[in-house]
C-alpha cells in the first residue's frame, strides 16, 4: 500500500518534472514551477527557509522520502534499476556503508559550493537531472513535437508549432551524457549507490533520517531471517542476519515492507534509539573510480552539428551570425550580477529550457561552465518576457515584473564602425534604430558637415538596456556591426 502510494506519487512528480524541462511554450512553468523550487539544493541557494524547514521536518518524520518521491534523479535511478531487473532476477544484498567516501565527497562539494557553485553542481542531484532532461531528453521531445507540428501543418491545424532544436553547448551536453552514463550505470548495477555515496543531498538527509520518527522496523519476533527484505533493498542497507537497517541510507521506498511475507517489517513510529549500524568500513577503491568517471565529464565534448539553415532558390543566401567576443559575459536580467549568478546558480538549465526566444545557452567559459549566458544570434531578449526569472528555483535569477525588466540594464550596445553597412556600403540601414525598444539608438550623418550623407547609429548607453534587438537585427554578417557588451552588475535605469 505505502509502496504503491510512493510509486504513484514519484511517477507523477517525475513526469511533471520532465515536462517542466521539456516545455517551451511557457505553460507548465506557471503550474508546476514549484516542483523545482522544493528541491533541497535550490531551496538552500535561494535561502528559502520555509522549504528547507519543511524538508527537514519531512525527513525527520518519514526518513528520506524526499529521495524516493521528490528528487527526480532518484526516481530516474529507480526507473533504470527497475528495468535492470535488479532486486528481482538479481537480488540486492547488504553492502557496507561508504561513510568516509561519502563525507569526503561532501566536504569537497561544500568547498566547491562556496568558491565555484557550478562545479559543485556536477554532482548535485537536481541539476544533474536538469542537465540530462534539458540536454538529452528535451531535444527528443521537441523533435517529437516537430513531427506533430509537421502533420498539424498538413491538416491546417494550429495545435502544434515547430520549435528549433539546436545544440546549445557541446560541453554541457557532454557533461549531461557522462552524468547519465555514470548515474545510469550505478543505478543499473547497484540501485541507489549514487545516492548513498556521491549525492551530497543524500548525505545531508541521511544525517537527519537516522533520527526519523517513522521508519521501517523489523519485528524480531516474526522475522525468520529469510533475507527477502534485503534482496529487495535498492539502498543495500538492510543487514538481514543482524536485523539492522542503516537508516542514513534508507530512502523510505517501502519495497521491504511488501517483500516480507512474515509481516515482520513495519513502517511505524519508533522512539529514537541510536542507529544500530556501528561498523563503517572504508572503500577507497570505489572512490577513485567514481572520481575518475566524474572527471571525464570535463573533457567530454560533442561533435553534434547544429541544424543547417535551408535557403530557397529565389531567396538571397543568408550567412549565419557569429557570436561576438564579449569582454563581460551577458547574463539574464534578474541575475543582478555575474557574481550573484555564479554563486547561486546550480546550472540545472531550467531557464535555458524555458527561454522562448532561444537566446540562453549554457556557458562554455571555465569560470561559469554550464551556467546560463545570453547570445543574440537567434533572437533578442524581449523586454516584455520574464520567463527565465520566473522559473529559476535558486533565485540566481530573481523574479522580475515586466515593468522592471524593461528598465533593467544588463549591458550596453557597442557600435563597430568597420562592420556597419552605412560605412562599408553606404546603405541607409535603419535596422538597429527601428528595433531599439528604449530609443537608445539614433542615427546621425556619417560626415558631420554633410547632413545628407548616410547615417550611422549612435548609442545612448544610459538608456540602453542590453536587450540585443540591435545586434540580432543588424544585417552585417557574420559579425554584427552593433553588439551588446555585458555588465558585471545589472542596474535599473
Amino acid at each position: 500500500m505505502l509502496r504503491k502510494l510512493r510509486i504513484s506519487l514519484a511517477f507523477i512528480v517525475f513526469v511533471l518534472m520532465m515536462l517542466l524541462f521539456f516545455d517551451f511554450t511557457g505553460t507548465f512553468h506557471r503550474f508546476f514551477g514549484l516542483l523545482a523550487k522544493v528541491q533541497l539544493m535550490p531551496a538552500i541557494l535561494a535561502v528559502n527557509t520555509v522549504i528547507i524547514i519543511a524538508l527537514v521536518l519531512l525527513t525527520l518524520l518519514f526518513g528520506r522520502i524526499y529521495c524516493s518521491v521528490i528528487c527526480p534523479l532518484g526516481v530516474l535511478q529507480d526507473l533504470i534499476s527497475h528495468f535492470s531487473k535488479r532486486g528481482k532476477k538479481r537480488p540486492f544484498n547488504y553492502s557496507k556503508p561508504l561513510t568516509l567516501l561519502r563525507w569526503t565527497i561532501f566536504a569537497a562539494f561544500a568547498l566547491l559550493l562556496v568558491f565555484a557553485a557550478n562545479y559543485a553542481a556536477l554532482i548535485e542531484p537536481y541539476s544533474v537531472f536538469g542537465r540530462i532532461a534539458a540536454n538529452i531528453f528535451a531535444p527528443v521531445y521537441k523533435a517529437g513535437n516537430n513531427v506533430l507540428a509537421f502533420f498539424a501543418e498538413k491538416t491546417n491545424s494550429h495545435a502544434f508549432y515547430t520549435t528549433d532544436v539546436w545544440l546549445k553547448s557541446g560541453i554541457t551536453l557532454g557533461i549531461a551524457a557522462v552524468s547519465l552514463i555514470v548515474v545510469g550505470f550505478m543505478a543499473w548495477k547497484y540501485g541507489r549507490l549514487y545516492c548513498n555515496s556521491i549525492c551530497p543531498v543524500g548525505t545531508v538527509l541521511g544525517l537527519i533520517s537516522r533520527f526519523s520518527l517513522f521508519k521501517p522496523i523489523i519485528n524480531l519476533e516474526k522475522c525468520t531471517t529469510c533475507g527477502a527484505c534485503a534482496r529487495k533493498c535498492k539502498s543495500q542497507c538492510i543487514h538481514p542476519k543482524e536485523h539492522t537497517i542503516d537508516y542514513s541510507r534508507c530512502v523510505s521506498c517501502f519495497n521491504c515492507l511488501e517483500a516480507c511475507e512474515q509481516d515482520a517489517m513495519k513502517f511505524k513510529f519508533s522512539s529514537n534509539k541510536a542507529p544500530e549500524n556501528a561498523n563503517r568500513p572504508e572503500n577507497k577503491d570505489f572512490s577513485r573510480r567514481s572520481f575518475l568517471s566524474i572527471a571525464t565529464a570535463f573533457v567530454a565534448g560533442s561533435t553534434l552539428k547544429a541544424q543547417e539553415d535551408a535557403v530557397d532558390g529565389g531567396l538571397a543566401a543568408i550567412e549565419k551570425k557569429k557570436r561576438p567576443r564579449r569582454t563581460t559575459t551577458l547574463v539574464p536580467p534578474g541575475a543582478q550580477s555575474l557574481r550573484n549568478l555564479n554563486r547561486h546558480c546550480t546550472a540545472c538549465g531550467l531557464c535555458i529550457s524555458a527561454c522562448p526566444n532561444n537566446i540562453l545557452c549554457p556557458s562554455n567559459k571555465i569560470e561559469m561552465l554550464m551556467q546560463p549566458e545570453m547570445n543574440y544570434e537567434r533572437s533578442f531578449c524581449r523586454p516584455e518576457c520574464t520567463e527565465c526569472s520566473s522559473v529559476c528555483p535558486t533565485r540566481a535569477i530573481r523574479k522580475l515584473t515586466k515593468e522592471e525588466k524593461s528598465s533593467l540594464q544588463i549591458g550596453h550596445s557597442v557600435w563597430l564602425r568597420q562592420n556597419c553597412l552605412a560605412v562599408r556600403d553606404e546603405i541607409n540601414c535603419e535596422a538597429c534604430e527601428k528595433h531599439c525598444p528604449c530609443g537608445a539608438i539614433s542615427r546621425v550623418p556619417l560626415a558631420a558637415d554633410k547632413p545628407d550623407s548616410v547615417k550611422i547609429p549612435v548609442v545612448d548607453t544610459e538608456r540602453c538596456i542590453g536587450c540585443g534587438a540591435c545586434e540580432y537585427y543588424c544585417p552585417a554578417r557574420p559579425f554584427a556591426a552593433i553588439y551588446v557588451e555585458g555588465h558585471e552588475n545589472h542596474k535599473f535605469i
Binding site: V311, I427, C429, E430, P475
Partner: protein, 485 residues
C-alpha cells in the same frame, strides 16, 4: 499567386480535374496510353453545351473566343498564356529550383488543344528559365499554331549597354527556338519616368534597333508593357500620334479593381489606359486580370455577393470576363501554374460571356468595397526578389493578404476569439516564412521600391505588417475599445 478554385465548388471541380486529367493523359500521355490517342477527344463536344451551368467535363476545344489583330490580321485567343508562373520543383539533392518541364509540356499541350495560341514570356521570368521552358514545349508543335511574345527586360544598368541589350534580344530567339517573334515588348516602362526610359531604349539606340528589326520582319508586332509613371505612357501615345514610333499593341494592367482605382492616381487607372489605346485603335494586351490571383480569393463577404449572382462560377471567372469584355482587348494573360487554373480559365472564355451592365455595376461596387480592406497590392510577380537582406517580400505580403481575405486577422484585442486568432496568425506566419525571411528583417534600404511594378512602398508595408506582428507578439491591447492603432 496561384489562381485558386473557389472552395464551395471544390468537390465538383476536383472531380473534373480527375476526369479531365485522365482523358488528357490518354490524349497526350507519352508512351503509356498511346493507343488511346484522340480516343475520347470527341466526348467533350457533347457535354460542352452545359458549360454555362455546372461543369461536368473538361472545357470545350472549339469554343475559344478569339480577337483579330488589326495590324497583322492574327487571330489571337482571348486567353493568353502568361509563362511567368510555370510550375517549378527542387532540383534533386539541391536547394535550387528548376522548371518542371514535364508539367509545362502538359499544360502547353492542353492549352493549344483548347484554342490558346498566345504565349507571353520574358528573359527575366522564373529566374531566367521561362523562355527556355516555353521554347522546349512549343518546339513540339507546328510554328503556325502559336504566337510568341517576349520582352526587352534590360532593367539592370549593365544590361542597358547596347551590346548587352542586343545580346538579350538575340538570346530570346535561341531560347524560344524561333526565327520570328510575333510580339516584342519594351518590358515594363514607366517606372523611373522618362529618364529611365531614355537610358533603356533611347540613349543606347535600342528603340531604333527594334524598329529596324520590325522592318526586317523578325519582329511582327512591336509594343510595350506599362507600369508606373503615367507621364511615360502619355509620351508614348504622343510619339504614336506624331508617327515617331508606331505601337502595334500595348500591354496594360486591367481588372475590375484597377478600372477606376480609388486609392491611386490615374497612372494605374485602367479605364484611362484602355481608352487611350482604344481611341487610337491600338490593341490592348491585358495583364494582371486577377491581380496575381488576389481576385480569385476575395474576402468572404464580397465572394458571396458574386456567388449569389452566379452560384456555379468562380470568383476568378468574373475577373476574366471583365477583362475580356472590352472589344479593344486582344488577349488576356494569365499565369497558370496548375491544370486546374488552366481549365477554370478556359471555361471563362470558351466562349466569353460579356459582362452586362448590371454585372458591371456589381463589380464596380465590389471593387469599391475591396479597396477598403487593408490588403497589400502585391501580385507576387517576384520582380523585387531576391531581396539583398534575405526577406521573402512577396511571401510576407501573400501571407498577410491571405489572412485578411480569410478574416483571420484579429481586429482588436477585445475580439471574442482574439487568443485563438493571435496564435493562428503567429504560428501560420512562422510556417509560411522562416524567421530570417520575415518582415522584421527589412532594413529600409529601399532597393526594392523602384523594382515594384505595383509601386508598393515595400519598406513601409513591411513596417506596417511587422508593427502588427509585434503587437500580437507582445500581447498589447489594440483595436477600437482601447482606442489605439
Amino acid at each position: 499567386m496561384k489562381i485558386k478554385l473557389d472552395k464551395s465548388n471544390h468537390p465538383i471541380e476536383s472531380n473534373i480535374s480527375l476526369i479531365s486529367r485522365r482523358s488528357f493523359f490518354k490524349l497526350f500521355g507519352a508512351g503509356t496510353a498511346a493507343s488511346a490517342m484522340y480516343g475520347c477527344g470527341t466526348k467533350t463536344s457533347k457535354t460542352s453545351e452545359s458549360q454555362s451551368g455546372s461543369r461536368t467535363d473538361e472545357p470545350p476545344k472549339d469554343k475559344m473566343t478569339c480577337r483579330s489583330n488589326p495590324n497583322t490580321g492574327d487571330t489571337v485567343s482571348l486567353l493568353g498564356y502568361g509563362c511567368m508562373r510555370f510550375p517549378t520543383r527542387k532540383k534533386e539533392g539541391s536547394e535550387e529550383e528548376e522548371i518542371d518541364q514535364e508539367l509545362v509540356n502538359q499544360l502547353i499541350d492542353y492549352a493549344l488543344a483548347h484554342g490558346v495560341n498566345y504565349f507571353d514570356c520574358s528573359p527575366r521570368y522564373i529566374q531566367g528559365m521561362c523562355e527556355g521552358a516555353t521554347g522546349r514545349a512549343l518546339a513540339r508543335h507546328p510554328r503556325n499554331k502559336f504566337f510568341i511574345a517576349t520582352k526587352m527586360s534590360n532593367f539592370d544598368p549593365e544590361k542597358q549597354k547596347r551590346e548587352n541589350s542586343i545580346k538579350m534580344y538575340r538570346n530570346s530567339f535561341k531560347e524560344l527556338q524561333v526565327d520570328v517573334i510575333d510580339y516584342y515588348l519594351l518590358h515594363s516602362i514607366g517606372g523611373g519616368g522618362m529618364a529611365n526610359f531614355n537610358a533603356r531604349f533611347i540613349d543606347n539606340g535600342m528603340l531604333d534597333f527594334l524598329k529596324e528589326e520590325r522592318e526586317k520582319g523578325t519582329i511582327r508586332n512591336l509594343g510595350f508593357s506599362f507600369h508606373g509613371d503615367v507621364e511615360v505612357y502619355d509620351e508614348m501615345m504622343r510619339w504614336h500620334d506624331e508617327g515617331k514610333v508606331h505601337w502595334d499593341f500595348v500591354q496594360i494592367q486591367l481588372n475590375y479593381v484597377d478600372w477606376q482605382n480609388l486609392n491611386n492616381n490615374k497612372s494605374t487607372d485602367a479605364h484611362y489606359l484602355y481608352d487611350e489605346l482604344h481611341r487610337r485603335g491600338i490593341p490592348a494586351v491585358i495583364m494582371e486580370p486577377l491581380l496575381g490571383g488576389r481576385l480569385a480569393t476575395l474576402p468572404q463577404y464580397l465572394f458571396l455577393q458574386l456567388k449569389t449572382r452566379r452560384p456555379e462560377e468562380s470568383a476568378a471567372s468574373w475577373a476574366f470576363r471583365f477583362a475580356g469584355t472590352p472589344d479593344g482587348v486582344l488577349t488576356v494573360l494569365s499565369g497558370m501554374t496548375a491544370m486546374e487554373h488552366l481549365q477554370n480559365n478556359l471555361w471563362s472564355y470558351s466562349p466569353l460571356e460579356h459582362i452586362d451592365k448590371q454585372e458591371d455595376e456589381l463589380l464596380a461596387e465590389i471593387a469599391k468595397e475591396y479597396q477598403k480592406y487593408p490588403l497589400v497590392a502585391c501580385t507576387n510577380c517576384q520582380y523585387c526578389m531576391p531581396c539583398p537582406y534575405g526577406l521573402n517580400i512577396p511571401g510576407v505580403f501573400m501571407y498577410y493578404n491571405k489572412c485578411v481575405n480569410e478574416g483571420s486577422v484579429p481586429s482588436s484585442s477585445q475580439d471574442k476569439n482574439y487568443r485563438k486568432l493571435r496564435r493562428n496568425f503567429l504560428v501560420g506566419y512562422d510556417r509560411a516564412l522562416e524567421s530570417i525571411r520575415q518582415a522584421d528583417h527589412c532594413i529600409n534600404c529601399n532597393k526594392c521600391v523602384p523594382k515594384c511594378p505595383q509601386r508598393i512602398r515595400i519598406p513601409r508595408e513591411m513596417r506596417r505588417i511587422n508593427d502588427f506582428v509585434e503587437m500580437l507578439k507582445q500581447g498589447k491591447d489594440f483595436g477600437e475599445a482601447s482606442g489605439q492603432k
